[in-house]
Amino acid sequence: MAGPTGPRSAPNRTTGPTSAGTNVPAATGTLVRGNEDDLSCNSRPLGGRVVSVDLLGIARWQFGITTVYHFLMVPLTIGLAILVAGMQTAWYRTGNERYLKMTKFWGKLMMVNFAMGVVTGIVQEFQFGMAWSEYSRFVGDVFGAPLAMEGIVAFFVESVFLGLWIFGWGRLSKRAHLACAWAFSLATVASAYFILAANSWMQHPVGVEMVDGEPRLSSIWAVLTNNTLLAAFPHTIFGCFAVAGTFVLGIAAWKVWKRDRQGLPRDEDRRVWHKSMRVGAWVALVSFVGLAISGDVQGKLMFQQQPLKMASAEALCHTEQPASFSVFAYGDVSRPDCESVKSITVPFMLSYLAHGDFDTEVKGVQQLQREYEDEYGTHYPNDPRLGDLAGERIEYQPNLPVTYWGFRFMIGFGAVSALAALGALWFTRGGRFPRGRLWGPLALASIATPFLGNVFGWIFTEMGRQPFVVAPNPNPSGVDGVWMYTAQAVSSGVSPGEMMTSLIALTSVYGVLLVVEVFLMVRYARGGFEAVMPPKHSDDDSGSGGDDVLSFAY
């Protein structure tokens, strides 16, 4: 990572957060010091500096990797669990075997994914204490409660009723078995609510008062009805359904395409795949509408709650009135003088996105940096535990390229997946399916888009909150004086070597398991209904004496 030292001479190596190589400084971006005179509106110099491999940097990478990875599994689990419960309900009500096939097939893929979500979730809960002990001490009075609630209310229901559902085919009555499906799938949604309550508190602390320099919970109701949470929850859940809908759409479309190209008959199985595909496409399309609406609400909130996140998302240097929305930058947003960034803009649009009208002023990064310095101080405390940052000047602007491109990739990938869904609905109307060679691979590729949209959305919102781990609440009627810098949050008793060990070990295991998961999903997708439906003969005696052999076993 050695290179020219001055930020101004930093080479243009920023290609967005997708490139692993340039991603190192991105994650530690706000913590790498630049020249004092570049304070305003500069992004951190990417790729142009020596980045010390420090505890904080490793801890942040670990949190980023484990969280993004966990969130590859979570939205698919949540969305697919509800869809499968819906399919099973259709089977229960109509008795039509078509819905049983759909339940079994999509249920199997959901289970392959569910296991991964469960086991990677334990890491999420443990690493607050392990890697972020200072954070845990500081916020424990507030932050622990939603986590404990998530465990007691959601995780127990999820795990117990999933076990009952997997092993309960033929053992429970159809009605009880269906109830199990709804129990665990709704529990995944409840789980999302509680963990988003915790996250929203980090974005916008409410319901606390400061006692002896630490936040004390004064209203759990305020935490559970935080307006940040009420906006983030629907946005996240729509994101889950966008993922699940596109997943179903992509795989089912690939199955139909393959059958048609092999010249297989237009039989019942094709109808079931076709039906699955259209269900998935509708789910994805409706989700995108929901995402756009909830995202707009969330964005307007963020302009009030974390104006620097949003100004950075727009690379908006100077306060504008009315403000233009930047669609796409073709300059180098990583340059410290963001004035040189050229971008295609839509006049008045940003004023609308921020405040709902076309003439309100939107504050730029330079002005906000000065306001934050007045409000929260100019320098980090001279605490040796802050390492290199002790006594240094505080950069309040989050990493500009990550925030700017993260925001655009989130929206962009979401839009692509919506277009895919719309296209699928049009081209497959009335049972048809286009014959072209590219349609199958294209359908499979579309599965990736909502995943990427989710990932970039989280990277954007978490990186955009930097340098804070708990962002201050700027609302004067809200909670004042509660904030924490990320640099202060890391465990001071843990050595960089330990942190690096766990980072490498977890990343390696995660990598291997991702390969295994995809391998299994591909196998099940290839296998189709035959691989998941019970063998025919067992259907005949399921009514009499079928109790001897387990209907499902590992």
Partner: protein
């Protein structure tokens, strides 16, 4: 009793639930190659815990979450100090959970053997780490005034803590054997039964040893009572096992475990994590407890949530109460 003390007891109870439930499913995993000689027998073993292992593991997550909510300083101090053991615990729990779910999904011996290896290794390593970390919180760690570790990552490896690790492994083995004797039939059951009888006494020794160390170093007068209960229940469990009363033996082991947890947490009280450097730096219940309001909130959640959990988790065990033998295992149905 004030709320912090109530929550200290709740944490003890959550760990008891975890050790009781995941204890036997760790034992089943450890005994997989010992008692499961043929593939179908190994599937018998795995399917005794198939529907329930995930729910059992949630007790660990909730124990961690409850510590975070009610004693943030305890959670932060213990988890950051025991960084490497907990990392290893997380890694093996990840592998183990995925192994159960994926093992039957491809029908080749190589595939199954690989996941079996993950299950066995993880089932041995996990209780070792749990025992290490739990003992460390009882016997203390070299903490500074901030509650952070002084010294390298391996300071946790003291003799008492290693004994604790051994004790949890030993208990899990014995508990797993008793569970299998209760839940299986045929060859597996006979072997599990023999295993529990033959190794019952040697496996109880490290448990009793751990309790004696805890009692002599930190114990109160009243914790002698729970220690004696452990001995009585442990011996009674073996006696019931000998006459083939598998259910009673299993329950008596639970009673013994309750005695173990009471003795250990009794020895820990009124601390939550002693500092071995300076008693003034020890983390206590009073110092690390969350505010009364927070504790009240989580008390209400636990008061309604926990009984419900016990009811529906109990119901699962009722639904899957039948003994499993090789004749109940369906043919492999993989992708």
């Amino acid at each position: 009793m004030d709320l912090p003390t109530v929550w200290f007891c709740v944490i003890a109870l959550l760990w008891l639930g975890y050790l009781f439930l995941e204890g036997f499913d760790f034992g089943v995993g450890m005994l997989l190659p010992v008692l499961g000689r043929r593939e179908t027998e190994r599937r018998v073993l795995i399917n005794t815990i198939g529907p329930v292992w995930d729910g059992n593991e949630v007790w660990l997550i909730v124990a961690g979450g409850a510590m975070f909510a009610s004693f943030p300083g305890w959670y932060a101090g213990l988890f950051s100090t025991a960084y490497l053991p907990l990392t290893l615990l997380l890694l093996v729990l990840i592998g183990r959970g995925v192994a159960f779910e994926y093992r039957g999904k491809v029908d080749t011996d190589r595939w199954r053997r690989a996941w079996d290896a993950v299950i066995v290794i993880a089932s041995w390593v996990a209780p070792l780490m749990v025992g290490l970390v739990l003992s460390a919180t009882v016997f203390g760690l070299p903490l500074d005034a901030n509650g952070d570790r002084v010294g390298g990552p391996l300071v946790i490896l003291t003799l008492p803590n290693l004994l604790g690790a051994l004790a949890v492994v030993a208990f899990s083995l014995l508990h797993g054997a008793a569970f299998l004797a209760l839940k299986t039939e045929g060859g597996v059951r006979e072997r599990a039964h023999r295993f529990a009888l033959l190794l019952g006494v040697p496996l109880l020794l490290p448990v009793v040893g751990l309790l004696l160390v805890a009692q002599l170093r930190e114990g109160a007068a009243w914790t002698w009572i729970s220690l004696v209960i452990v001995l009585l229940a442990g011996v009674a469990a073996l006696a019931r096992q000998a006459v083939g009363r598998d259910g009673q033996a299993f329950v008596l082991q639970g009673v013994a475990l309750a005695g173990v947890v009471v003795t250990l947490f009794g020895a820990l009280w009124p601390n939550v994590l002693p500092s071995t450097l300076d008693p003034a730096w020890s983390l206590s219940i009073a110092e690390t407890a969350s505010s009364p309001y927070t504790l009240t909130v989580v008390t209400w959640v636990a008061a309604f949530g926990t009984p419900a959990v016990l009811v529906y988790q109990g119901w699962t065990y009722w639904v899957f109460r039948k003994r499993i033998g090789t004749e109940h295992i369906p043919p492999v149905h993989a992708a």
